[in-house]
Amino acid sequence: MTATTRTIQVDALARVEGEGALTLRLRDGIVEAAELRIYEPPRFYEAFLRGRDAAETPDITARICGICPVAYQMSAVHAVERIYGLTMTPTLRVLRRLIYCGEWIESHVLHVFLLHAPDFVGQPGALEMARARPEWASLVKTGLRIKKAGNSIVRAVGGREVHPINVKVGGFYRLPRRTELAALVPELTWAEQAVRDCLDWSTTLDYPEGDGAYDFVALRHPDEYPMNEGRLVSTSGLDADVTEFDQHFAEQQVPHSNALQARKRQDGGTYFVGPLARWNLNHDRLPAAIQAAARAVGLAPPVLNPFRSLGVRLLEVLYAFGEALRLIAAYEPEGPASLPVEPRAGTGHAATEAPRGLLYHRYATDAAGHILDAVIVPPTSQNQAQIEDDLRRLAPTFVDLPEEQATWRAEMLIRNYDPCISCATHFLRLKVERS
């Protein structure tokens, strides 16, 4: 019998943020290689941050990602503020959580309706979906309106949707007026209900099997569902301060990718960050209403199938609308817009929960506040090895499908992670090679 080699290849992965490719090489039906190649060219942020003023980090690092600039701004300001010994006032803390709610909504809804949903209905994209059937058109329209509601939060607090201008080390440039936030309430209230209806729609989709024995990693806060603060926890029992990130995780370079891949130091194993990780590790921090909504759609934890992340994203969006409405109702613009900043030498670490997972920043500064060293570990770098693992593990479930369907399934597997390649290149094409 002659060995047969088969290659499934996608040269330019669609509906992901940034540029990547995928190669899956099979020999006699066994996976020999699963490589997620990130060919997005490197932009060298960590190099040119050296010598910059630490106060510039929220504006500069936002430009790593147009989809989750708030995450970069939040990780940056918290890391620098730890060096400068600043603790936010309750008002400033609330505004940071509120702007993060807006970004979770905007980014998750973009992924659910425009990037992920077309996979489950067999359409190349959401715009084609909208043209194919009237009920899909109305779904995409609803999705866009929900997304806009999320963006309206980012805009009200941050000044604009992409690369907000109001965030600074020490707080904000200006506190939003009560009326500016109150004006959002009717649309946020509509959107919260619309998300409930979309959750019902999500139960009508067919999800491929995919349960895995994942080691999830996320932040955990004493009382809140995590966004800006918390300890590093994992399914395998990690419970560490964020300053110990480097002791537990290491970034490695692989020949086939411009993105560094993070692995656990302890055993070199892969780990999983993002909505499923937060969901499974922090479910007890959610309001009872969200837990009930989860049970109603079959998504009570543990959720171990990455294809089901679509529903979990919707549930996080539902949570974020409720949280935003709660924060706005209680908002009083009290105290200063920002705290005085006194530069000093030191090293600061911060991790926050970007929509697609844990985002770690570490800066070292001199006495004048100039950056000596910068390390940024984006969520997609951390998930990249896990995605390759999923491809290896799940390939047998789809490699016997016709070429076009096998390739599509492999792409779906990657899109489950909402990878952000622009972020990870410091990430995708599918190529399946079969022998």
Binding site: A47, Q252, Q253, S422
Partner: protein, 268 residues
């Protein structure tokens, strides 16, 4: 541009969205046009938009929106291919129009940069300089900004559909600021502000948030950089403030680059 309008009657114009080295933020601005997106997708055929659809790259385009800077060897060929396929090529955003923040490496030793980020720099393919699209192919129109402004993007697409010139003013942010009725943050608070020399388009966003303009739309037409620098000095700002403010997303835009070179280099 009447050709586009006439072609539009026969068949919807084909739109392509292309990405080079960038953060995705400018093409995201198209997806952020939540109110206009579905109507737009009926008025034009979105024939290539990798972030939104799996449709493969094929055929010719009436309009190509190009995001990102040219930063890696394979992109040199790709941008020429996009140019050849496209009737109108529009560069969108600071990366595509000026090289982006990644142009901070221009003139630095890229080998040093590579070794700071990567353990095996030899695996990475990169060009020494990050350059705008116009450095490589003819560009029909440029939309400024880091990120571009949604309203300007919609105006650009409407203009191209109607076969007219887009109404995108190139005066300074200062004018938008005065029209919005904001109090000048530089005069009244001594806040460093690039508004007098920065290209309009944002609606003077930063001054509206008690912040000085940080130049994300790049230089306005005929910017008086020297005069603004003198004003910074007169109000006693730290000598490297101006240098740093110019050295971000539009660092390689000619007017900003020239001004930076004329300034004393202040290293931290």
């Amino acid at each position: 541009m009447t050709g586009t309008a006439e072609a539009g009657r026969a068949r919807p114009p084909r739109l392509g969205v292309f990405k080079f080295a960038s953060c995705d933020g400018c093409q995201l601005s198209l997806l952020d046009c939540e109110d206009e997106l579905l109507a737009l997708s009926e008025a034009v055929q979105i024939a290539y938009f990798l972030e939104a659809t799996r449709q493969p790259l094929a055929g010719q385009f009436d309009v190509a929106l190009v995001e990102g800077s040219i930063s890696a060897p394979e992109q040199l060929e790709q941008i020429r291919d996009v140019r050849q396929r496209s009737r109108y090529l529009v560069a969108i955003g600071a990366c595509a129009t000026a090289g982006g923040i990644q142009a901070l490496r221009n003139g630095a030793d890229v080998a040093d940069f590579l070794s700071l980020v990567y353990a095996r720099p030899d695996f990475i393919q990169t060009l020494a300089d990050s350059t705008p699209i116009s450095a490589h192919v003819a560009v029909d129109f440029e939309l400024r900004g880091c990120p571009i402004d949604k309203k300007q993007l919609v105006e650009l697409l409407l203009a191209l559909l109607a076969g007219r010139r887009p109404r995108v003013p190139n005066h300074a942010v200062c004018l938008e600021c005065k029209r919005a009725g904001y109090v000048c943050v530089m005069v009244t608070q001594g806040t460093p502000c690039l508004g007098p020399i920065t290209h309009a388009g944002c609606g003077a966003l930063c001054p509206g948030y008690d912040r000085g303009c940080y130049g994300c739309f790049g230089p306005a037409a005929r910017p008086n950089v020297t005069s603004l620098q003198a004003q910074f000095a007169r109000t006693g700002m730290a000598p490297d403030t101006f240098q740093r403010l110019l050295g971000t997303f539009n660092v390689a835009a000619p007017a900003f680059a020239a001004a930076r070179q004329a300034l004393p280099i202040v290293s931290p």
